[in-house]
């Protein structure tokens, strides 16, 4: 089930949000060792988790988190312009129809196959949400391994500048174009992945 949560509606979807913040702590703090604030020892919540953030959350019917992403308006302070402006050759993109994708999070409890499904569903949901709400561009920051996966989704990506090594990790900023063509590009991306997949398992 996809939840699109605007912070104004927060009380109604409290369980879904709590489950997401806990999953983010598990992924970004426990697994990836990011140096980001943790609330109450359980929830990863930073200064951008405010009333301006929008969340796309895939969850079980009981609210259990499967995958999520946070969208920040680029007309307000966001991660690229606040911390990583150096990753952009020109000024970081800043427009009413441009949102930054942050905290793309797949639940650690998922199997490899489930992860792929949740990931693809979440990416499709990002494109659909953009088309439904008039977002024309997403910006994002990615570590190199993740960057290759983002390209492989099939949508149109452009680098915003040269990659740089920051705190031992090579990061790059990119721009993702969303047009009415994007859903079919994503579909081609999934077909490409299906054609090249080598770890197909025989169903037991």
């Amino acid at each position: 089930m996809l939840h699109v949560v605007q912070s104004a509606a927060r009380p109604a979807s409290d369980a879904v949000l709590r489950s997401m913040f806990a999953a983010r702590k598990s992924v970004f703090v426990d697994l990836l060792k990011w140096d980001v604030p943790v609330l109450d020892g359980r929830y990863e919540i930073d200064q951008f988790d405010d009333v301006h953030a929008t969340y796309l959350i895939l969850a079980e019917p009981d609210g259990t988190h499967l995958g999520s992403a946070r969208l920040l308006p680029t007309t307000r302070p966001h991660i690229l312009d606040s911390f990583y402006a150096g990753l952009c050759d020109d000024a970081p993109p800043r427009d009413a129809d441009t949102f930054e994708i942050t905290r793309f999070c797949l639940d650690r409890r998922l199997t490899a196959c489930e992860r792929r499904q949740v990931r693809d569903t979440l990416v499709t949901a990002l494109a659909d949400h953009a088309l439904a709400t008039g977002i024309a561009t997403y910006s994002a920051i990615a570590e190199m391994g993740w960057f290759q996966q983002i390209l492989a989704f099939g949508w149109r990506c452009m680098p915003l500048g040269l990659p740089r090594i920051i705190d031992g990790t090579m990061l790059a900023a990119l721009r993702i174009e969303i047009t009415p063509e994007t859903p079919s590009l994503l579909e081609s991306g999934r077909a490409t992945a299906a054609a090249l997949r080598v770890d197909r398992r025989v169903a037991a």
Partner: protein
């Protein structure tokens, strides 16, 4: 290269490449702008064994390519092994810091130098669930590594690999031979063969001549490129032209009740 021309180049590499020649041309141009002479885009599998299903695109001199193929280096090449340790591009001269180099590795690299292969820069590419791969840029021995261009080479390598992925997935689809399709009458005949009937029995069941049945089955065999009926039945079951339930579950009632 300025930001705009760089982005345009990458888009061209990924999108405008309708075939391997286009991609080779776009990559050759990017490679030169990066200060290298040669590139190699490849999946890390035994290229000879994989015969066409794995990505392999390069403009290496023939003697380099021969050397790689002859030594089946796709799998064991220290450059490829090192690229499994990181998602960051690395100069080949730094490999010994990344992986333990065996005597055989040193021999392989020395052989490469004998062929005139100089220093290179390899960008690892890994999409989960798929064969690992990389994009390498290389120079002849004696030419300096264009150090200031390496961050750009990192990006170029990632976009190039993505372009190759899309192209190869398409090629895979095109390489599938067209599936044989039977006429309805041919299928009927094959179905009765599968149920163990002779041509004479089939001719009575279908109300046609025995020679006609034999001809339908012969033509069906030809469409599948086989000369034995048993094999024809197996292949039609395999590709879904027939199903087991066709053969076993349905009963034939010649006289409607």
């Amino acid at each position: 290269m300025g930001m705009h021309s760089m982005a345009t180049q990458f888009m061209r590499v990924v999108e405008a490449a309708a075939n391997a020649d286009d991609l080779t041309a776009a990559m050759a141009a990017v490679t030169e702008q990066l200060g290298f002479q040669y590139f190699a885009l490849t999946h890390h599998v035994d290229i000879v064994a994989a015969s066409g299903s794995a990505i392999r695109l390069h403009n290496y001199p023939v003697r380099w390519a021969d050397y790689y193929d002859r030594n089946a280096l796709g799998v064991s090449d220290p450059v490829h092994r090192a690229s499994h340790m990181t998602s960051l591009g690395f100069p080949w001269s730094r490999m010994s810091e990344m992986i333990p180099m065996t005597r055989e590795d040193h021999r392989v690299l020395a052989l490469g130098r004998d062929q005139g292969i100089g220093d290179g820069f390899t960008v690892p590419a890994h999409v989960p669930g798929e064969a690992r791969g990389s994009c390498s840029f290389a120079n002849e021995a004696g030419r300096p590594m264009p150090v200031e261009m390496l961050p750009l080479a990192q990006l170029a390598g990632m976009f190039a690999f993505e372009g190759a992925r899309r192209l190869w997935a398409m090629r895979g689809g095109l390489q599938m031979p067209p599936r044989p399709v039977l006429t309805d009458r041919q299928r009927d005949c094959v179905l009765w063969v599968a149920r163990g009937k002779s041509d004479w029995e089939i001719s009575h069941i279908l109300g046609v001549g025995e020679e006609t049945v034999a001809r339908h089955i012969k033509q069906a065999c030809e469409r599948y490129g086989v000369n034995k009926r048993t094999y024809l039945v197996i292949l039609t079951l395999f590709d879904g032209t027939l199903t087991f339930s066709d053969i076993f579950r349905r009963r034939y009632y010649p006289f409607p009740e």
